[in-house]
Every structure is written in C-alpha cells, then in structure tokens.
Amino acid sequence: MSAVSDTLDATPKSRGPWATALRRLLRDRAAVAALILFLMVVILCLLAPAYAQWTGTDPFKSTLDAVIKLNGQDVPVMEQSTEGLGLGYTPIGPTWQIGNYFLGADNQGRDVMARLLFGGLNSLFIAGMATVVTLFFATLIGLTAGFFGGIIDTLLSRFLDILWAFPVYLLAISLSIVLITQGLDLGLITIESGSLWLPIFIIGVVYVPYVARPVRGQVLALRESEFVLAAVGLGVPSHRILLRDILPNVSTTLIVFVPIMMALNMITESALSFLSIGVQPPDASWGTIIQDGQTLLYTRPVVALAPGIAIVITVLALNVLGDGLRDALDPRSKIRIGRS
C-alpha cells in the first residue's frame, strides 16, 4: 500500500488544459513579445485623456490660430507660405518635443499625437467590440446550425452563404452608406448616426460567416462524439448539452479567433473610416487620421504615416499573438482566416 501510495504521490499533478495552454503560450517568445507590444499600445491609448489634459490641447477642436512656444520663440501652428506666390497654408511639422505637438499638427491645427492616442482608443474599442459582436452571433449561429441540423442548419447555412457571397468590403461599405447618415433603428436597439456603435455593428456583422462556419463544422463533429451521444441518450436537455458539453469544446477555437478577428476588424475599421463611412469627424480613429493626412502627404507625411505605422504594429502584434494562441490551445488546429 505504502509503495503504491508513494508512486501516486510522485506522479505529477495534471495541469489542466488551460494551464497547459498558458504554459505553451509563455514558451512562445514571439507570442509573448506580441502580447507585450499589444498591451503597450492599449496602455498608451488609454492614456489619451491624460495626455490631452497634460498638454492642454483639445484634439477635437479646430485651433487654426494657435501659437506654441518652440525653442523660446512663438510659432504659429499653421504657417502661411511666404515664398513665391504665397500659396498654401501648412500645419506645423513634428517638434519631437513630448507634449508640444510632438508629431506636429493636422490641417485643423490639432495636435496629431493627441489625436493618434484618441484615435487608437476608438480603433481598439471598435475592433474589440466588433469582435465581441462577431463571436456572439457566430457562436449562436454555429452552435444552433451544427447541433440541431436539418432545416435549421439549412436555413442558417444559406443565410451565411448569402452573407459570404458579398465581398466583405462591398457589404461593409453598402451598410455604412445606408446607415451612417440615418442611424439604425431595430425597435429594441436604436443606434444614432455618428455613433461608434454603427461601425461596430457593421464590422461585427460582416465577419460573422468567417467564424460561424468553422464553429458549425466543429459542432457537427462534436454532436457525433460519444459523450454527446451519451448525454442525448440520457435525456439531457439540448440547451444543457450545448452549454455544458459543446460550448466549452469550441471555446478554444473562439479564443483563437479573438486576436485574429481583432486584427481584421481593425483593418476594416481603418478602411471604412478612411472612406469616411466609419468613425465620423471630429471623432478620430487611425483610419480617419490617415484620411486627414492624405491631403498633407507632400508637406506633412507624418500625419498619415503615424497612424499607418500604429495600425501595422497593432495588427502585426495581434496576428502573431493569434498564431501563438492557436498553437497553445490547439496545436493540431487548421483554422486560418480566409475562404479556404
């Protein structure tokens, strides 16, 4: 007895799937670096209100006649050309002085650095919330279609096919053009035009098929597994099987999708905002700041470059993190974004 007992005590405790996944994730240096980078971006953006308060700038108000102190001299934020024909009115370029128009001004005389931080906050918020919307509806549809099958599966799958048939950007642009000036009224839910929830809803909806399909496929496989068949045989109610047996088994897939969808949503938000059908002025997002900078490409390229670089860094970090999560949670998974 004692020998057996000793043997049992010597056997290492099972860590459980989550701890194992975390361990695997932490071993992935690239994923950890990406996570740190992403968290830094988030923290910096969260500091936006504090930055604006500290610098005393209002990133949403036109300050065309503002004057700043630069190297002891008063310098106007907007500079009138004095050479040649005197054409053009150019915002001040980067001062590289923290808190003093670090990245210069945009064509409204607003501090680009402050707008970059506020814009990041909005971009991250929209991308994050749109991801929640996507995952919620995708899970709902995927679970229902995969588990109940039959006519329900057929109807939901065709609905996904219809959504899938539209090029994502075409669908998003169409929805945006219709909704952005009129808002959305679904009876219980009303979203006013200009609200950040409009791009969230639009982006969230257009990507539902991208997540719902793999979820449905996984549920179809799980439905035939022994533990589910056993539960069905024992007369366990369907909702209980879905919530207790199937949902936990697809949760890893959903978690893997979080960073990937966030990256995708961030790019989509930027694209829509760049086309003026996402975040509405004077609110900022990285997409709108790029659009603002488009008219300054020759004179003040940093206005467009800064948010562009921010998007690249954030999306890259999220994608690397997504890969790391996938490897950590399900090394055999073949989930990839796109139309396989």
Partner: protein, 553 residues
C-alpha cells in the same frame, strides 16, 4: 452657378461693350500641335443641350454656337453678350416680348451641311424634347413652352419660335418681357444643332456643331478628342474665334495629384481640377510662372434652414454669423492668396455690391474678427442653447475641413453639434430637399453673369423654394414678403433703368444679409496650372480659361 446658368440684365451689355478691349490679333505662327489637358473624370453626356457642367461648357465654347454668345475675350469682357449665329442682337418689340433674329449666311456644321432657319427652330424645340435641365427655368418664358414641358415629345413651340426661311429670320415670342433673355440664348443649352439631331440624350455620341472644332472621339472612361472642323470659316472673332492647336486631347482618370505631376513634367498642358492643397506651396514657388490666379465672383456660404429649429430663430442665425472666423476659413481654403472673407451675399466687384458687414467684431464695411461673446449671448437669448445641430458638408477635403471648423464653432457657442460629410454626388441635392431636415450646410455658388438677381433672387427668392424637392436652390427656405417685394421692384426697373435697379438690389442685399438666412464664408479664387510650353493664356470671366485660344507651339 452651382450647376445653374441664368441670364443677366441685357442693358448691361451695352455698358460693358464700351469697356471691352479689342480682340487679340491671331498669330498664325503658333497654329498647330496637340494640346493635352487632363481631368479626374469625364463630365457625363456630351449633349450640349443636356450637359450642365462647367467642365464641358468650357470646351463647348469652341464647338457649339447659339444665336448669341458670351464674348471670347479676357477678363470681364466675357460677360458681354455678342451676336453669334445671328447677324446682330435684335431690339425687342411688342413691349419686350418679341425678338427677331436674322441668321448669318454661309455658316456650316462640322458635317458640311449649312445652318438653316429650320435647324434653329428645331434646336429650340429640342431643348424641350430632351428635357434640358433649364427648359423649365430659362426657356419657360417662350410662348408654347408650357405645352412642351407638359408633353416634350410633341413639342412644337407653336407661336413661340417661328422661322421664315425666305427671309432667313427666326422670331421668338415671349409670354412676358425678360431682360435676361439674351444671356439665356448664349449658354450651351441654346446651342443650334442640326434639325435631325436625335430627340433624346445623345450621350457619348457627338452632335455636329459649328465652331472651329468638333468632337472626333469620346470615351467617358478614357478621353475626349477635339479636332479642327474642316468646314469652319470664322464669322465673328468676338463670338467664335479660330483656335490655335490642331487637336485638343482631353484625358480622364487621373488623380488630382497625378494631374499636378503631369503638368509639372510637361506631359499635360493644363489640369481641370484645382490642385490639392499640399501641392500649392510647390506650385507657387517652383512653378510660379505657370500659375494663373483669377478672382471669381462667387461665394462659399453656410445656408441655415429658416424653417426648422434652431435656425428658425433670427438670433440663432445671427449668432452663427458673429461666431465664424472668416480668416480661419480663408486659411483652410489655401490662404489669403486664394480666398477673401465675405460678409454679405453679393460678392465684391459685383453690380449692386456696396460693402456691408454687420456681423463682425466692429460692424462696418469689412470683416475684422469673430465676436464669440456676442454670439454666445445671442444663443442664450434665442433660447436655443444646447440644441442638436447637424452640419452637412460634401465629403471632400476642403468642405470637410470647413465642416469640422463649423462644428467646432457651433459647439463653442453652445450647440450640441455634429458633422455629416456625404458624397459630393448627392450633397447638393440632399441639402436642398426639405424632407432631409438639414439645419445647416456648406455650399458654393458661382455667378454666371453680372446680375445681382443671380445671387439674391436665385438663392433667397420665394420662387426658388419648393417643399420636398431636390431642386429647391433656396436651401435656407428663406421667403420674406418685404424682400420679395423689393426684388420684384428691381426686376421691373431693370429693363428701363439698370442703375436704378441695382440700387434696389443693394437694398435687397442688405435686407437679406441682415436676416442672415446664410453665413457668408469667403469668396474663392481660381487657380490654373499650365505647362511651360502653353502660351497666350486668357481667362474669361464667364467660362474661365479659353482652351483653344492658347497655343502649344
């Protein structure tokens, strides 16, 4: 003119003709070559009786002729109306309701056929048959027009336009005297076309014209080619002078940035679109000899809907006028070289314009500075503080930046303001339609001829307002009995006493400015950026750069 063309006071023509410089001498040594001009996109149908864009009206000047024409001269000479296919400008008879035109002999279309009285009568009927955008506005004054508007397909203009082939005359009868009628005959919608021209929009298929050039190829996705009309013989240097280049090649599909680069590199001779703001500095320094800047009698303004809150309240409208920093807006447009602040409806240099600036820090003749405190006080007194206001602007760089600024100002004086930039394709009609409940917007109006009515009556006359219509150019919905009566008085006097009429228009300008149905923002200037090789650039106040009067060799 946003997309409109109206006429001016005919009597003014006589006054202007005395001031007009002589035509420049034609220099045959510069004749020939291919001129390449570029634009972001085509401007739609090539049909001169339908197209309603400055882009094509500009090139129609060398292709199509009417009975009258705006003079092809530099500067304000372009406002003068001269006889074109008509031998001379007729004197109105029958209390100003009848005009008889004698047609010139020997003028041919580009397909070799003679221009006849029959073509002239058919062309007037065609204005209605193709439902020209101005058929109900400009030409509804012709006898028989009502029936033509009701049933365009069977339009005969019976009793309105009659030709006498033997005498070579065309008589036009009007339902009432119209002192602006000569101007209306000078715009492309009244072009004389072959009698067998299709009674529908000709679209991309060119119709023969009488000018020194004809359209030899047109693909709206690629470009438009103008070649010399082999049958053209100049009949009037003032109305239809010969051109210099043999071919004008108009290419479409470039971005405005690419247009600038093409002109800089000498790959294009001129760009239609205004250069983007971030290239202005470069153009104004390195290429200053290739830049022409001309003042336009036009304004950018912010119409406020006088029929819905908060701008149904005079104090609220006045507050916006006091609060706007015109200098800031001028800078957003490109700086003082490209625009000037305005305070009133009629632009500087316009007939009946007498400087007047009531809504500024120190009211007087000129705008000095915004008065934010006064604006805040007026908002408070109006009881509209805190109300939600939406600013509707075109989704273009300049309009949007002006919108962002306006929103900022509205917030500052106490409104809960938001901005909606919408596509330039629909913004102009959207802000006109009362169903859209637009409170305040940003728009522009470019004059067509020097007549105060073109601004005051068109933009603020009761007849220009139509509930629920996309064509309600009185965007503010302003309709004031006293102002209306004054305008009628001015119209009545215009035919006999233009100067007296202008004095009344000055009063109307003040009355409208005081009532503040709009916030005047600034008056813009126009930049033409041309290639190094392009010579003899001439800017005509009516149709801007005279394309074929420049040479490329």
């Amino acid at each position: 003119m946003k997309k409109w063309m109206l006429a001016g006071v005919a009597a003014l023509t006589i006054a202007l003709s005395a001031l007009t410089p002589a035509q420049a001498e034609y220099k045959p040594e510069h004749r020939g070559g291919t001129m390449r001009i570029v634009a972001r996109s085509a401007a739609g149908t090539l049909d001169p009786q339908i197209n309603y864009t400055l882009q094509y009206w500009q090139i129609y000047q060398s292709v199509y002729s009417g009975l009258t024409a705006f003079k092809k001269g530099a500067g304000e000479a372009g406002f003068e109306v001269v006889p074109n296919l008509a031998e001379e400008l007729p004197t109105a008879s029958n209390d100003g309701k009848t005009y008889t035109f004698k047609l010139r002999n020997g003028v041919k279309f580009s397909d070799g056929r003679d221009v006849t009285v029959k073509d002239v009568v058919a062309s007037f009927q065609r204005i209605f048959k193709v439902s020209s955008p101005t058929s109900g506005g400009f030409y509804s004054v012709i006898v028989g027009a009502d029936a033509c508007i009701a049933t365009p397909a069977t339009c005969t203009l019976e009793g309105g336009v009659a030709g006498d082939e033997a005498a070579g005359t065309v008589t036009i009868n009007l339902t009432r005297a119209d002192p602006e009628f000569m101007f209306k005959l000078a715009v492309p919608h009244a072009s004389i076309l072959p009698a067998d021209a299709p009674a529908t929009d000709s679209g991309s298929v060119p119709i023969a014209g009488t000018g020194p050039y004809f359209f030899s190829a047109y693909d709206p996705n690629k470009g438009l080619t103008m070649s010399r009309n082999p049958h053209f013989k100049m009949w009037s240097e003032a109305a239809m002078p010969d051109g210099y280049p043999d071919v004008v090649q108009y290419d479409f599909g470039l971005t405005d940035e690419a247009e600038v680069t093409a002109v800089m590199n000498g790959e294009a001779d001129w760009m239609f679109d205004q250069p983007p703001t971030d290239r202005l500095g470069e153009i104004g320094t390195k290429y200053k000899d290739q830049v022409y800047i001309n003042t336009l009698t036009a304004w950018w303004y912010a119409p406020m809907n006088t029929r819905i809150a908060p701008f149904d309240n005079l104090k609220a409208r006045q507050a916006v006028n006091y609060a706007i920093d015109r200098k800031a807006l001028v800078n957003l447009f490109g700086g003082p070289v490209l625009a000037a602040p305005v305070c009133q409806v009629l632009p500087p240099g316009f007939p009946a314009h007498v400087s007047y600036c009531p809504y500024t820090k120190d009211p007087g003749e000129k705008w000095s500075a915004p008065d934010i405190e006064k604006a805040k006080q007026l908002v408070e007194e109006s009881g509209t503080k805190g109300q939600k206001v939406t600013v509707i602007v075109e989704d273009t760089a300049v309009s949007k930046s002006i919108g962002v600024y306006l929103q900022s100002v509205l917030k500052e004086i106490g409104y809960d303001a938001e901005l909606k930039p919408i596509s330039p394709n629909i913004q102009f009609t959207y802000i006109q339609n009362t169903n859209n409940k637009v409170q305040i917007s940003v728009s522009q109006w470019y004059q067509d001829y020097p007549a105060a009515s073109n601004f005051l009556n068109v933009l603020f006359g009761c007849s220009s307002f139509t509930e629920g219509s996309d064509s309600s150019i009185n965007i503010a919905g302003f309709c004031d009995e006293k102002v209306e009566a004054k305008m009628k008085e001015a119209f009545a006097l215009a035919a006999t006493d233009p100067e007296g009429a202008n004095k009344i228009w000055t009063e109307v300008d003040r009355m409208v400015t005081d009532a503040a149905p709009a916030a005047p923002l600034f008056t813009p200037k126009h930049i033409d950026f041309v290639s190094k090789r392009l010579g003899n650039f001439q800017f005509n106040a009516q149709f801007y750069w005279m394309v074929t009067q420049s040479w490329v060799q």
